[in-house]
């Protein structure tokens, strides 16, 4: 008992310290925008050589670690926190943040994929048709995103993040949605399955409906994922669960797996356009994966509801900042 008590407090203390460190970095970064502007306009090297090369990657590593912990606790993907927070509060250009955000979301989805597929939680037959639509549209989204002026993308990103915050506050979940009859398309594609639900120790049979409507929504989800470099779990899950009627656990797992396909296509567009910098990508991927690893353990000793409110507030502030920055106000 005492051991468990100490361990949970040690983890909480570690997270608080890392959050403070990341917060200090964010505050410092937001106080020095002049440096970034000077470099962006005149491209002189003197102004920017004030830090050792590892300074910003280290900050990214720590911040990504904290985001990774919070993402697990709040039940959201790392990408949706990473892009608005890193682009809003650190000096990286949105082009590179979106490129890194996609690789971060992709790495997380690739890491989670094998376990989810083996357990039968992520369903390949459900994912493949949705993934084809989403990944094709993510290419278009990425190309649009890289073609539009930064302020337009920043404004749209801000509006999207605020929309995601609204979804996070409002959206309901349905553990076992009622699907009276599967639609003809899902019947033809044989999208159905069985999974074991340990909480009630029962095998649950599931089927889906409204497949054509869902495919239509995945057009929009794909475009947005590619355009903003966000993982699209925030949109995938409501469509799979509330619209199609897949059980919540199947929806969450299939959504996570889907990201590995959607983000792959968009990531290639950013990669081929030079918008992926290893110096940003590697610390971010390592940080968020370590954070997710710790987050899963912290989940057992914290109150996720409190963390979820905190994440919604932080995301709301980041979304508002992105919106104002895009409109030239912030």
């Amino acid at each position: 008992m005492l051991k468990k008590f100490k361990a949970s407090h040690a983890i909480t203390l570690l997270i608080v310290l890392l959050t403070l460190l990341a917060g200090s970095a964010v505050v410092y970064a937001s106080q020095a925008p002049e440096v970034a502007i000077a470099v962006e306009t005149s491209v002189t090297t003197e102004a920017a050589t004030q830090h050792a090369w590892w300074y910003w990657p280290l900050i990214l590593l720590v911040l990504s670690f904290v985001l990774g912990v919070f993402a697990v606790l709040a039940g959201v993907g790392g990408g949706v926190l990473y892009v608005p927070i890193v682009s809003g509060f650190l000096p990286f250009h949105l082009d590179f943040v979106r490129g890194a955000g996609l690789i971060v979301a992709l790495a997380g989805a690739l890491a989670a994929g094998p376990g989810l597929l083996r357990k039968g939680m992520a369903d390949l037959r459900l994912a493949i048709p949705m993934a084809l639509i989403a990944s094709t549209c993510a290419i278009a989204g990425a190309m649009i995103g890289l073609a539009l002026p930064t302020n337009v993308i920043q404004t749209l990103l801000g509006a999207t993040i605020l929309g995601i915050v609204a979804i996070m506050i409002k959206a309901k979940k349905s553990e076992f949605p009622n699907v009276p009859e599967s639609d003809p398309l899902s019947q033809a594609l044989r999208i159905t399955g069985v999974y074991h639900e340990p909480t009630i120790n029962k095998d649950i049979s599931w089927k889906v409906h409204r497949t054509p409507q869902a495919l239509g929504l995945f057009v929009i989800i794909g475009v947005m994922a590619g355009m903003f470099g966000l993982g699209a779990g925030w949109a995938n899950v409501p469509v799979l669960n509330l619209l199609m009627g897949a059980p919540i656990k199947i929806s969450v797992a299939t959504s996570k797996f889907l990201l590995s396909i959607t983000d792959t296509s968009a990531a290639w567009i950013y990669l081929n356009n030079g918008a992926v910098l290893p110096m940003m990508v590697v610390p971010s991927v390592v940080g968020i994966m370590l954070g997710s690893f710790i987050g899963v353990r912290v989940l057992a000793v914290t109150k996720p509801a409190v963390i979820r409110i905190l994440v919604i507030v932080v995301l709301g502030v980041a979304g508002l900042k992105a919106l104002l920055k895009g409109l030239g106000i912030g």
Partner: protein, 136 residues
């Protein structure tokens, strides 16, 4: 009916698992090589922070770095070497899709054969760079 992952799912998962491990390990190893200066980078480590504040088009114009697959010809440079595991991770899905194709062919699962082939084509086109490279 007992819950069971399909044959294709297990195959996909196994390839993804191995590939992901190799990719992530490669990411860390190549970054250490890059950061430790074992291989000289195209852009000196201290100067990278000058470029990530600007749009990608300006970065490419100022550094003279060619986008697309040009990094493949510069694997002797620390920063370009790091693209190898990133590209590997980004290619994994294509490999997994190709791997499940024979099973679907055996089962004559026509709809999914068509979907999988189309997805492979879509991802290959995205990866090829023929949709444009070089930033806006």
């Amino acid at each position: 009916m007992a819950p069971q992952a399909t044959e294709e799912q297990v195959l996909y998962a196994n390839i993804l698992n191995k590939g992901m491990m190799i990719g992530l390990l490669g990411l860390v190893i190549t970054f250490v090589i890059y950061g430790a200066g074992i291989l000289k980078p195209v852009i000196p480590l201290e100067e990278v922070q000058n470029y990530w504040v600007m749009p990608v088009a300006d970065y490419l114009a100022l550094t003279g770095i060619h986008a697309g697959w040009a990094w493949l010809g510069n694997l002797g440079k620390g920063d370009m070497l790091t693209f190898l595991p990133i590209a590997f991770l980004s290619l994994l899905t294509i490999v997994c899709y190709i791997a499940i194709l024979p099973g679907l062919l055996r089962k004559k699962d026509t709809a999914y054969i068509a979907l999988v082939i189309t997805e492979v084509v879509v991802l290959t086109v995205a990866a090829s760079g023929i949709l444009g490279s070089g930033g806006h």
